[in-house]
């Protein structure tokens, strides 16, 4: 999310699962789809079977995906930017790029501010004390008309193309081999295969997941791949795209609905603490076009925002009170999970609600998490399962060696139903909202999550009403129009987020006609207004429930064009568009680049096609509107301006725990690891050093289990019953370890004991002249469930996150191992 939005305008999988079948080359990197997404992986198999697609897998381990790949290349964990930067260098050096595409649809020609610079690992504006950048120099050169200056000849040394070329010229195949340990010939084979799709006739799809997000430079890894895809002309194209495979079935829905701490629904953003002026808040977000004739769709921000506030506060949100702007929290800083747990650890948090979340198992540095939870006054756990978090205070011997007498936290466990025990929609990776129906009642005292939250809310509201309290306004004024106050129906909530008219709406084309009656569902976000006459709980979902009914419940898989877009199967945001930025599948004149892969096209008066055009339907190609309609530039960005924390171009930085303790790309001690990543006090000290912990460790999921849930199921427990760790044959021989031995794995934060699986699938790599072994650590075990009791794998992992998204660095850290 934090990487695709700064590049393309929206932070989600650009294409969708079924569309993968249209690819000619499938790159799986930063993920292991066969292992973690076996059902979606069928579309890779379809591409192979019916499209003769080549599957390329780049991973530290020879994975289940690699087992069915045509080409596999090993890579040291945490070095993907070096690899992909090398691919960019290869494509630019060999001129294997889709010229017309990049010139028309990216910022290639844009001129960058003269103050911007990059030197020895750092970009201009670095402040070492604050570990952050003054990003003011990371901008465009603007003309007197307010538009970005460009150089269509691409000769100006300050144009994005020239700056990028210079930046990545350092990423030679030799440098890639030195950093990543990928043998040069294998790296070049991957480059050649990707480069084969730099033509309009062929496409590469990139499939990635937590293998990219879970690094201190995770967002930038994804951005580097997005840049490769732009150079190849593969964004907006069927069989192309940057396809983020989400780690939970509804995690896309979670971010869409604004459950990240700095977001509101639909990727609207919470104001910062200095943003107390409503108008300034809106104007900052309603970006005006930066090039002539661009749509810059965020100009409509206020319509989305006001409609959201009407959905939340109803009649209490008025023009006079700036639509209840003062009732929104104002952020002093990002309050992500790592921040909250650090605050908790410092004793600054009294109570914590933990809904469908098992942080003791799922977040890094279990010792710190356990100590943090022990400092709470109360902990509420809402979950279908008896999670480790809910029993963090209980002694489970070596697996959770705590003294309950010393922990005073009161724990409330509220049993909830699971997804199969309620109606609702899940948003899949491909942005489809698919409705599902309750299959059974929750067992025992279990209640649906909505009912639990509604019960908590109505009781709290009653207490505020009866007893008063500090700042009761947002709670007392929250609209609660549900038929059963204690148990709102999923259908009511779905209608609310899709949006409705609050008064009779006049037709914008003919003011004498009413085109929406008061109370009627809207057809989509184009009908939202900023005068308080519409309400919509999530503008991005607007159109999911229209006067025609619940479109998410549709199950018509008709595919008239044979390209898998199935527009009548469920409903996809935005506006049922299946492939985002699909305007880019045509050349500037509106003709499909590839006549065999027609998606949308200009028919002389309108945009039409097999997909819903992700574009202004009546915009004549002659007017030059760009396909990336959310960006004020209208084009995609190689140069991310100030939108990334650690720099406008992705640069390789070592994991915070690096086995080589240096960054071969620079000689600057400040720039070994991400110079702008947040590190909490005390956590820098517990990063391990290679002399004590020589092996590069990475954690991951197995097909047999889903996170920490399915170890509670007998069948899954039968399929993978006991905690294990994977090591290569070389390392096993060095350490005298045989398959089946118990081994101790230690990091600077703790240790686990597990069975050794000795495999050919992990091989030592030569990195910076040094042999580096990997240790593979599956995550699924714990002290609760049907599987054999095990250690929490996150006992080992470091408490540091991606500098932009704060996703913890689960994928790269250091350990030592020994036979028990």
């Amino acid at each position: 999310m934090a990487s695709l939005a700064p590049t393309f305008g929206r932070g989600a999988m650009t294409n969708h699962w079924v569309d993968i079948k249209n690819a000619d080359v499938v790159l799986i990197m930063g993920g292991n789809a066969a292992e973690a997404h076996p059902c979606g992986f069928k579309w890779v198999v379809e591409a192979k079977k019916h499209n003769r697609a080549k599957l390329v897998v780049v991973d530290p381990r020879f994975t289940r995906s690699a087992a069915v790949a045509d080409l596999y290349a090993p890579i040291r964990t945490g070095t993907d930017i070096a690899f992909l930067g090398g691919v960019i260098n290869y494509l630019l050096t060999k001129d294997a790029i889709q010229h017309d595409y990049v010139k028309a649809y990216t910022d290639f020609t844009f001129l960058v501010n003269d103050g911007y610079a990059f030197d020895n690992g750092l970009f201009s504006g670095y402040n070492a004390d604050q570990r952050s950048y003054d990003k003011s120099s990371w901008g465009y050169q603007l003309g007197s008309d307010g538009y970005v200056k460009t150089d269509p000849t691409l000769q100006d040394p300050r144009c994005v193309f020239q700056l990028m070329k210079k930046h990545y010229s350092r990423y030679t195949p030799e440098m890639v081999e030195k950093i990543c340990g990928t043998p040069r010939d294998q790296f070049l084979k991957v480059c050649e295969t990707l480069a084969s799709t730099a033509t309009p006739e062929r496409t590469t799809t990139v499939m990635y997941a937590l293998g990219w997000t879970q690094h201190s430079v995770g967002s930038q890894m994804i951005r580097t791949a997005a840049m490769v895809q732009l150079l190849l002309g593969n964004i907006g194209i069927a069989g192309g795209g940057m396809n983020a495979l989400r780690g939970h079935s509804n995690i896309q829905g979670l971010t869409d609905l604004g459950l990240l701490s700095n977001l509101l629904p639909g990727y609207l953003t919470l104001p910062g603490e200095k943003e107390t002026d409503y108008r300034a808040y809106i104007d900052k977000r309603a970006a005006k076009p930066l090039r002539p004739n661009q749509l810059s769709y965020w100009q409509n921000y206020e319509k989305f925002h006001v409609s959201l506030m009407k959905a939340w506060f109803g009649d209490a949100a008025t023009k006079d009170n700036h639509w209840a702007f003062d009732w929104l929290p104002k952020l002093d800083k990002v309050h992500d999970v790592l921040q909250v747990f650090d605050d908790m650890y410092q004793g600054k948090v009294n109570g914590y609600f933990c809904q469908g979340f098992n942080p003791l198992a799922a977040f890094p540095n279990k010792a710190k998490l356990g100590a943090a939870l022990a400092r709470l006054k109360y902990l509420v756990v809402i979950d279908p399962l008896a999670t480790e978090t809910s029993e963090f205070w209980k002694n489970f011997g070596e697996h959770n060696d705590v003294d309950p007498a010393k922990i005073q936290t009161t724990v409330f466990r509220l049993p909830s139903g699971c997804f199969a025990e309620e109606n609702g929609s899940l948003v899949n990776s491909g942005r489809w909202l698919q409705w599902h129906w309750k299959g059974a009642e929750p067992p025992g005292e279990g209640k649906a999550d909505i009912e639990i939250m509604a019960g908590l809310f109505t009781r709290l509201r009653d207490m505020y009403q009866a007893e008063g309290g500090a700042f009761p306004d947002p709670i007392l004024n929250l609209a609660w129009p549900y038929r059963i106050a204690a148990a709102p129906a999923a259908e009511e909530l779905a209608q609310e987020y899709s949006g409705k008219a609050l008064t009779d709406l006049a037709d914008p084309k003919d003011a004498t006609k009413v085109f929406k009656k008061k109370g009627e569902q809207l057809d989509g976000f184009a009908q939202l207004r900023d005068d308080g006459s519409t309400s919509c709980g999530c503008w991005l979902f607007s159109g999911a429930w229209t006067p025609a009914g619940n479109l998410m419940a549709r199950r018509d898989n008709a595919d008239p064009y044979g390209d898998g877009q199935t527009l009548n199967w469920a409903w996809s945001w935005p506006a049922n568009r299946r492939i985002m930025y699909n305007r880019a599948s045509c050349d500037a004149s509106g003709k499909p680049w590839n006549a065999k892969r027609k998606q949308v096209w200009w028919n002389g008066s309108a945009w039409v096609g097999s997909d819903v055009p992700d574009f202004k339907l009546d915009s004549n190609p002659a007017d030059g509107m760009g396909p990336f309609i959310m960006n004020p530039e209208g084009v995609a960005r190689f140069f991310a301006l100030d939108k990334m924390v650690e720099g406008p171009f992705p640069e390789h930085y070592e994991p915070f725990e690096t086995p080589i303790e240096t960054n071969p790309l620079n000689s600057n001690p400040q720039a070994v690891s991400n110079p702008a990543a947040r590190v909490f006090k005390g956590d820098m000290e517990v990063f391990g050093k290679a002399k004590d912990f020589p092996y590069a460790a990475t954690s991951y999921r197995l097909t047999e289990h889903f996170h920490y849930w399915t170890k509670h199921c007998r069948i899954n427990a039968v399929l993978q019953p006991e905690q294990f760790v994977e090591i290569g044959e070389d390392l096993a021989a060095e350490k005298g370890i045989s398959a089946g031995d118990k081994i101790k794995v230690r990091s600077n934060r703790g240790q686990i004991i597990a069975v050794a699986v000795v495999t050919k699938r992990l091989r030592p790599l030569t990195v910076n002249g040094k042999k580096v072994h990997h240790v593979g650590i599956p995550i699924h075990w714990g002290f609760k469930g049907m599987t054999k009791p095990g250690y929490i794998a996150n006992t080992l992992t470091p408490f540091v996150g991606d500098a932009n998204a704060q996703t913890p660095e689960f994928k790269s850290f250091l350990v030592n191992i020994e036979k028990v």
């Binding site: 066969a34 992986f41 294990f724 495999t759 050919k760 699938r761 049907m786």
Partner: protein
């Protein structure tokens, strides 16, 4: 033609002739090893449908789990790491009953009706008739049947004969996420396999081919293999399976006993339990005795 007719084509230790009025197409499960990701969904589906719950075991240093077939695990994935021409390959094979056209288990079985072969090719164990002698294990060239510790009877994959009987595919086929498992008439499966083999050959697997071993008359579970010339790479899949000579041997030794036993058929299973020996006749034996 329907695939689900459950006329019995042959029955262990039985003399009555089989019905032959209807013609039934032969079925087959095709396991395309080249698109299998070893996810074990087939194992889970098998346990679910057949109401089997094996013990929660231990990890013995490999990904395989359960470690072997058992009376409660009728299919398991077997993972092999092999190096071919300096290139690592991870060959993952779903193991289970092959449903031979010429089933060694049925041939060896002394208990009337404990093993049947349906006209559609499915070889099924009828545990209520099983005497637990274990001869099916000796008879099987693929080492598939397992005797239950709990009830002393032999179990193995039924190819979901109950599902196939009502026109459904076996549970493992339904659960397979990648389409590596396919089910249909044997003819259709051979056609489909030919497409897959052509694809594999175009990708450089010159020896890709179909595993349908003639030594057991062909099988109703077939594999598409990248290396059909060396099935043993796939965790000892036999290159040329045949029915154990022991099956013929015991028949030879037992011939006189069998002749005497002909009159004791009525005592049936009780007798088997007492002597735990080869005191029953197969059709072939009977023929031999009569000759």
């Amino acid at each position: 033609m329907a695939l689900q007719s459950l006329d019995i084509a042959s029955r262990s230790a039985t003399t009555t002739p089989s019905p032959s009025m209807r013609e039934t197409a032969e079925v087959a499960k095709l396991i395309d090893v080249s698109t299998c990701i070893g996810c074990k969904a087939c194992q889970a589906a098998c346990m679910e449908w057949n109401d089997l719950r094996d013990e929660v075991g231990r990890n013995s240093g490999v990904l395989d789990n359960p470690r072997d077939l058992s009376a409660a695990s009728w299919t398991v994935m077997r993972y092999a790491e092999v190096e071919e021409g300096g290139k690592l390959e991870w060959l993952i094979r779903k193991d289970g009953c092959m449903h031979c056209a010429d089933p060694g288990c049925l041939k060896a079985c002394p208990a009337p009706g404990a093993i049947v072969k349906y006209a559609n090719g499915i070889v099924d164990f009828q545990e209520e008739n099983c005497i637990g002698c274990g001869y099916c294990i000796t008879g099987c060239p693929f080492n598939i049947p397992r005797i239950s510790q709990k009830d002393g009877k032999a179990y193995k994959c039924t190819l979901c004969s109950d599902r196939v009987a009502v026109g459904m595919e076996p549970a493992c086929i339904k659960a397979c996420p990648t389409g590596a498992l396919q089910f249909g008439s044997k003819e259709q499966m051979k056609d489909y396999a030919a497409e897959r083999i052509a694809d594999l050959q175009q990708r450089g697997f010159q020896n890709a081919g179909l595993y349908d071993p003639p030594g057991v008359g062909g099988t109703h579970v077939m594999y598409v293999l990248h290396h059909a010339d060396r099935p043993q790479l796939y965790r000892e899949l036999p290159a040329n399976p045949t029915i154990s000579p022991l099956v013929a041997l015991w028949k030879g030794v037992a011939k006189p006993v069998a002749a005497a036993a002909l009159g004791l058929v009525a005592l049936g299973s009780l007798f088997h339990y007492v002597v735990k020996g080869p005191n029953e006749v197969s059709k072939e034996m009977e023929k031999e005795v009569e000759e």
